[in-house]
């Protein structure tokens, strides 16, 4: 980027890395498809779940190989998390948590690829000028996941408690079933139901987006010259190491919240 920095301004450098590659599917701005987000997410999903499927298809009930043991550890880890929070039939909830955990982890892990290396690959191999490599730093992805989980939460509330039971919960908890308290209960619950998907999605999005920006700022600093590089390289290394924690932790938090929300929808009050 030393060469490129001469031609690019800082804002165009950041813009270059953080602008989505879009396709317009219609007149309205809503019909803009972020090709990079969808393609990367799909590729990671196919690779990740394809790997799991491939290992699980060849799994043996006897002594497992190392690859199988790894996959078993992963899946049993997720299942243990679910078991600790959710008490019911896990035939759907654990695969849900597994999907969220693995997919989000892989999408976050795209952050490990150095930004300019990813840009070089997308520019010269894929021949796409703008390409954001981290799908979870696109608000569309995190909202898609959070709202899907939210939808599942509503679905389970209705299925487990019925309209009556759920309405009773909305109006009569957490403060009490007195008629005077109904508006407060409802208001409280509405705030909760609105804040859940917002915090769920924005937490992940914010962390990943901020991580990308900090990397970009550090590399921009490195592009200013040798002095800048002297500071930017150790800081970049430190941030990269810290980012390993963030990537794993955010995926874990996202998965745990998914389990908690679904489990809460199953709980009768």
């Amino acid at each position: 980027m030393f060469m490129a920095a001469a031609e690019l301004t800082p804002s165009s450098y950041i813009g270059h890395h953080l602008t989505n590659r879009t396709i317009a599917l219609g007149e309205d701005p809503f019909w803009t498809l972020n090709l990079d987000t969808v393609a990367t997410a799909a590729a990671l999903g196919v690779i990740g779940f394809g790997f799991l499927w491939w290992v699980v298809r060849g799994a043996t009930p006897g002594v497992p190989g190392k690859r199988q043991a790894f996959v078993e550890l992963l899946i049993v880890f997720v299942d243990d998390q679910v078991k600790g929070i959710f008490h019911g039939n896990r035939a759907f909830v654990t695969p849900l948590a597994l999907t969220v955990g693995v997919w989000v982890l892989l999408m976050n892990a795209m952050d490990f690829i150095p930004v300019d290396l990813a840009a070089w690959f997308t520019t010269h191999i894929l021949r796409q000028h703008e390409w954001k490599p981290v799908p979870t730093s696109d608000v569309n992805t995190t909202f898609a996941l959070a709202l899907s989980v939210w939808g599942l939460m509503i679905f389970y509330n209705l299925r487990i408690k019925g309209i009556g039971g759920w309405s009773h919960e909305l109006f009569c908890t957490p403060f009490g079933s007195n008629v005077l308290l109904w508006p407060f209960n409802l208001l409280f619950n509405l705030v909760e139901y609105i804040s859940k998907p917002l915090s769920h999605s924005l937490r992940l999005y914010g962390n990943m987006y901020a991580g990308e920006i900090i990397f970009l700022l550090l590399w921009m600093w490195a592009a200013t010259g040798w002095i800048g590089s002297l500071f930017a390289i150790p800081l970049g290394l430190a941030w990269a190491i810290f980012h390993i924690l963030i990537v794993g932790l955010q995926a874990y938090i996202f998965m745990m919240l998914t389990i908690v929300y679904v489990a809460m929808a199953h709980e009768q009050h």
Binding site: P29, L33, N34, T37, F49, L52, P95, L98, T141
Partner: protein, 156 residues
């Protein structure tokens, strides 16, 4: 930075992946893990059974060993008693035999003695007769004096 159709695409993809996970990954692995759990549980149960069997067998063995030892002791005791008895019998037999032999020998000696006495008596009588003949210097009619001689003989 706005919500677009991308979100819907991602959500659809999300549900597709959930479906694939729930249909093709989770149940398959669970089946394998449950099969293995069953194998391990069976193995543990078999090991427990084996352990119990072994315990029982060793208990039985110890019991049998004790019994055998007791029997051996009894046999040895019996043998000892029998040996002592035989020894005693042999002693008794030896003593009686010895006594019998001694008695026989004594009787024989007695017989010899009386026989020798008889012979001596006869010889002494003859000597006495010969002496008397010498003294009398004449023939003693043996026939006439036989009665008298027999009387002397028996007085010796």
């Amino acid at each position: 930075m706005s919500l677009t159709v991308t979100m819907i695409a991602q959500a659809i993809m999300f549900f597709v992946f959930i479906f694939l996970c729930a249909k093709f990954i989770w149940p398959w692995l669970m089946r394998q893990i449950e099969a293995r759990q069953k194998t391990i549980a069976d193995g543990l149960a078999a090991a427990e059974r084996g352990r119990q069997d072994l315990e029982q067998a060793s208990k039985q063995t110890a019991q049998m060993l004790a019994q055998t030892r007791q029997q051996a002791q009894e046999i040895i005791g019996q043998a000892d008693r029998r040996a002592a008895q035989l020894l005693e019998e042999a002693k008794v037999m030896a003593r009686t035999e010895g006594e019998r032999l001694v008695a026989g020998a004594k009787a024989e000696i007695q017989q010899e003695v009386s026989r020798a006495k008889e012979a001596l008596r006869t010889q002494v009588a003859a000597l006495a007769v010969a002496g008397a003949e010498q003294i009398l210097k004449r023939e003693v009619d043996a026939k006439a004096h036989a009665e008298m001689l027999r009387g002397v003989q028996s007085q010796l």
